[in-house]
Point group: C2
Chain length 128, copies 2
DNA sequence: TGAAACCTTCACATCAGTGTGAAGGTCAAG
DNA sequence: CTTGACCTTCACACTGATGTGAAGGTTTCA
């Protein structure tokens, strides 16, 4: 698959796909003519990257996190330097804090919306 | 409390406090000499803002979300225009997606770290 | 053969959240 | 009265994620 198809499949601009490659988040094969060529499983990978980015992780961190997440573990033992482990632990904490903040605020917004709706409806249901 | 103290209490630079004010996230009283003056409860507010920013919400959205989160509801009915409600609903979805992505990846990282540690320890415990 | 639709690299632009620092006002303490 | 530690506004700089578009190569199809 070439870059255009990957872009279409993932809803990601070509520009960004090249950017992710530049940042070391994905790699590409090259055809004889220089065109990038991607394996099918890259669609998921790109989506995962988007999710992590949207979740607030910078590409620098994603680059370290990603290889640990591939399901058929390729690098459990090999590349797991103490530094990587340390970075990952820290990042885990930050993710947890983000989750907490998001959850708290999601709940608050939900509650608010519920109140507003509960207050809008009865007025028409009961009074009508 | 003046800006310096608020900055110290919240671990936020003065620059950013002014920026948040500029973006309409906080307001300040002014002393006779022009210095900003803050109520004690602003510390929490700033922390909440930091949390939301870190969670990926832009100031534009935070500005809309924040007033709905104040606990003694000041604006349940009054300012709840349909547009605000709509924005909030959408933002709620985005927050949920972020939470999901973060949770998924947190779990994956946790699992990875567990595996690495489980593989590092027995080697020394059992073999020793 | 030439147009359309891909692709390449490169460079400059934008936006938000920040930092940094200049130029200057205020106030308390020596 | 001066010094130091605050404060003010303003403006420019940076970073990271993105858009845009130029200048040019490749492939396909009429």
């Amino acid at each position: 698959m070439r870059i255009g198809e990957l872009a279409d499949r993932t809803g990601t601009s070509r520009r960004l796909l090249r950017y992710y490659e530049e940042q070391g988040l994905i790699v590409s094969q090259r055809c004889a003519n220089g065109y990038r060529s991607y394996d099918d499983r890259f669609a998921d990978r790109v989506l995962q990257i988007r999710g992590l980015l949207d979740a607030g992780l910078p590409t620098r961190v994603i680059k370290q996190v990603l290889p640990c997440l591939d399901k058929p573990r390729a690098i459990v033992f090999s590349d797991a330097t103490p530094e990587i482990i340390e970075t990952l632990s820290q990042e885990l904490e930050r993710m947890q804090r983000r989750i907490d903040a998001l959850t708290r605020n999601r709940d608050a917004v939900t509650e608010y919306l519920d109140e507003v709706r509960a207050q809008a409806r009865p007025a028409t249901e009961v009074a009508a």
